[in-house]
Symmetry: C2
Subunit: 161 residues, 2 copies
């Protein structure tokens, strides 16, 4: 796997996301990396992340897919043109998210989220994901990621990205 997580390239002002921001101390702080031609993130659910005792709640699975795939979108987009930490920063947001829950996801085991980029256009990146636990696919997902709207980015960073 690569050494530095995609999310750790985000500039400080774009690193507060509950799902993946390294500066959100209450958040999930997921970290995504390249593993050859796939992206991968590992996540250990906490006890409170249950749906029912012993199994992960669906919203966590959706959150992990979401942030892992937008991170993957940023990484693949950056790498097509320039270094990931070059200015101005590129940050993707989710246009749509789809999750199919295939099997209950154990709470005790580490989850593995794997992403595959299936489409890149100037306006969007499509990433498909698999969520595995104990070697079994528990969920699959698909995210259509788009660059953060300029109005949103301007409010956050004070700059017209």
């Amino acid at each position: 796997m690569t050494d530095k997580a995609f999310q750790d390239y985000y500039p400080d002002e774009l690193s507060h996301c509950y799902g993946c921001g390294r500066l959100n101390i209450d958040g999930l702080q997921i970290k995504s990396y390249w593993d050859e031609d796939e992206s991968v993130a590992l996540f250990q659910p906490k006890e409170e992340h249950m749906a029912v005792p012993g199994f992960v709640y669906g919203g966590l699975i959706a959150s992990l897919i979401d942030c892992h795939c937008t991170g993957t979108a940023a990484a693949v987009y950056w790498e097509q043109g320039r270094a990931m930490d070059s200015d101005p920063p590129i940050r993707f947001v989710t246009a749509s998210l789809h999750v199919d829950y295939l099997a209950p996801t154990p709470l005790a085991a580490e989850m593995e989220i794997r992403g595959n980029v299936t489409e890149i256009t100037p306006k969007k990146v499509v990433v498909e994901a698999r969520v595995l636990s104990e070697g079994k696919i528990c969920a699959t997902g698909k995210v259509v990621a788009v660059q953060m709207p300029k109005t949103m980015a301007t409010i956050v960073t004070g700059e017209n990205l």
Copy 2:
């Protein structure tokens, strides 16, 4: 609106969900009610629920849609046949979740999640959702909810529901 939330009819052993379990003290504890022919839940995001400063992260929106729609599925299913708190309990889980993010959702305002049941069969309930903030639709969603698999319910409750 109705007086008692759908989720407050769930038996104790099925009330630990991070999204909607009344017994999960770390969770979101969302509450869904009937408002005429729609279901509605209100939710005030916390500061840490941000995507970027000022806006809600997508995983929270997905989580709220998920739990609101499975609650709506249980409510409509129960009401077709018997009282919501009669035994054995009926609990729906998510087979698939789709979210379209239409506009950034403000972090400061109360969110309103509204659900419409669009399909009921013996095996599934389909619920479509709108997420509003400050009177504007920020996201729409669709959940296909199915009754909790017997294997999962048996592990949790010790009973063959």
